[in-house]
């Protein structure tokens, strides 16, 4: 097998064509790299947005979730009667429920005194809210009025709450114009919809937002007995409950939110368009480079044809140039993508990370870009006429 390789080995013409014209190679690589970085960033933001839109959704301790049919997304929640949860309890497979209030309130940064909208969740401190077992202990402190648990992964614009709290200071500030005290920290993470989060008791929540009708909640968590089929319970609850409430399985609840960002807004489209722009720019650059490369070497290609090389062999040379460009352009784009993702994570706290499907997708796009351009540039080879070189 190796002897076959050595037997078939030829002068690496494609590689030499590229490497002996370093300036042209650098321009091509810069173009591909730029396109790659643009695609990584745009697709990364898009996926990060969709993942970030459900950072809180993923944490709930629920098998089913009830929501008002008028709720379109986490940033526009409508209420429904809390009674529906009590009715759901009547189902034999339902083991427990948690009513949750969900709204955005104005938080005053205690350092700069500027206000900013924060996502506030109100729940009964004795009810389970998140699957995280540490929350139950912290939630006890919420039984007093005017107490909140602050999400320490909230964006820094809300103030140095976590630092102050960990230093042992008493952290008090204004929430919806009323005095509150931070009695603990939780770790949730910001999302596109919410820059920060806090948890409080329903009692405090209703005090902060007196306009909320007392019997109204935004989401209802439903926990099933082990072994129960969530799909079946969903179906039977949908039948038994009035139409002022919608029943989701946990996964549907997450997908519903993601879907909102994906389809009801143009964010997904914009980022995909951004990636497509990178693709097109890359195509144009690589095509230009390969086309002028073939044109410049046309007499040489014609000479090779005159010597008895096949046109297919020469097309193979151009194709290989395309492959080399793709690989050499992808590597720095990948590295830069990693670096920029880290930068985005630290400055925006968005969960953007390199994952295999996206890394593969971008590589495929770059390969298609380079091979497509090579294919177009090959058409120029037909002009190489060996009869015209004497």
């Amino acid at each position: 097998m190796t002897s076959g390789f050595w037997q078939g080995r030829r002068i690496p013409l494609a590689w030499l064509l590229l490497s002996r014209q370093p300036l042209r190679l650098m321009v091509a690589l810069a173009g591909i790299c730029f396109a790659g970085i643009l695609m990584f960033m745009q697709l990364g933001f898009r996926d990060g947005l969709f993942d970030a839109s459900v950072t809180v959704h993923r944490l709930f301790d629920a098998d089913l979730v009830l929501m008002s049919p008028r709720s379109m997304s986490s940033i526009s929640m409508s209420g429904f009667p809390r009674r529906r949860l009590v009715q759901a309890m009547a189902h034999p497979d339902v083991q427990g429920t948690t009513p949750v209030n969900w709204n955005f309130l104005l938080w005053r940064n205690p350092e700069t005194l500027k206000t900013r909208s924060i996502l506030a969740l109100g729940f009964e401190p004795i009810d389970p809210l998140f699957t995280d077992p540490e929350l139950a202990a912290k939630a006890k402190s919420l039984t007093s009025r005017g107490r909140v648990l602050f999400d320490k992964r909230s964006r820094t614009e809300f103030g140095p709450i976590a630092e102050w709290f960990e230093e042992g200071r008493i952290v008090e500030t204004e929430l919806a114009g009323k005095r509150v005290r931070v009695t603990g920290l939780v770790s949730l993470g910001p999302s596109f919809g919410a820059d920060g989060n806090l948890l409080t008791s329903r009692e405090t929540f209703l005090e902060l937002l007196p306009s909320t009708p007392p019997g109204s909640i935004e989401i209802g968590l439903v926990r099933l007995r082990p072994g129960a089929d969530p799909e079946a319970v969903t179906r039977s609850l949908k039948e038994s409950l009035p139409s002022d409430v919608q029943v989701f399985t946990r996964q549907d609840f997450i997908d519903f939110e993601k879907n909102y960002w994906r389809s009801s807004t143009s964010i997904g489209f914009i980022f995909s368009l951004g990636a497509a722009m990178g693709f097109v720019v890359g195509c144009v650059i690589v095509y230009q480079i390969l086309y002028s490369d073939v044109s410049d070497h046309l007499p040489e290609y014609a000479t090779l044809l005159a010597m008895g090389y096949r046109l297919n062999t020469l097309m193979g040379v151009v194709a290989r140039e395309g492959v080399f460009l793709a690989v050499m352009g992808y590597v720095p784009a990948y590295a830069a993508g990693q670096g920029l993702y880290a930068l985005v994570r630290s400055s925006t706290k968005l969960p953007v990370a390199m994952d295999l499907p996206r890394a593969t997708l971008v590589f495929s796009l770059i390969l298609v870009m380079c091979m497509g351009s090579a294919l177009m540039a090959m058409r120029r080879l037909v002009d190489a006429d060996p009869a015209e070189i004497f």
Partner: protein, 229 residues
Amino acid sequence: MNERLTVQVEGLSHWFGTGAMRRQVLQSISMQIAPGEVVLLTGPSGCGKTTLLTLIGALRKVQQGDVCVFGHQLHGSHRGQRQKLRRHIGMIFQGHNLLRCLTAEQNVQMGADLLPELSYRARRDQARYWLRAVGLDDHLSKLPHDLSGGQKQRVAIARALAARPQLLLADEPTAALDSVTGREVVDLLQRLAREQACAVLMVTHDPRIVDVADRLVQMEDGRLIPTLG
């Protein structure tokens, strides 16, 4: 057709252009080249020498008449057949036509790479052998850019011979060289071709190099002029 002749041309005519622009540049040419024979083709500029060379070199479609190279009829041959045949014909151009991005050694190996049965190492040794034969063993890894005109033409000769051709076609190989270098290059070409028993058809204007030929063929206005040879 005589199978043993390297080249046999019979009643070859060729036209360029179409319609009113159609012009005949070759008129019923007949000639033969025996194996190992060195033939010199001369004639005024524009009389059709290059056209004849490209037809014998299987670079152009034959329009009328017969052209047999190594016993293969080129009239009516396909592109692929002509391409295969070209592997056995060495060509040396007026300009050297070396690949700019390859070193002298790599350029010559592009010729040797056409030999399918040899290993990479053997082909590389071939390339080195031929560069030594043209006196360029010290310039193996130089790019064409760094070689003089005469050296480039020698690399072109080495490249042509490295594919072990049985016929060598050269179109004014000395045109870009001064007279001393031109003479050296032609002498080298003739000597190496003789060693390989390779037939040569060389177009030249240069009256000083006619003595390398076995036979002289003159051409005028698309016709061969009978000479004493």
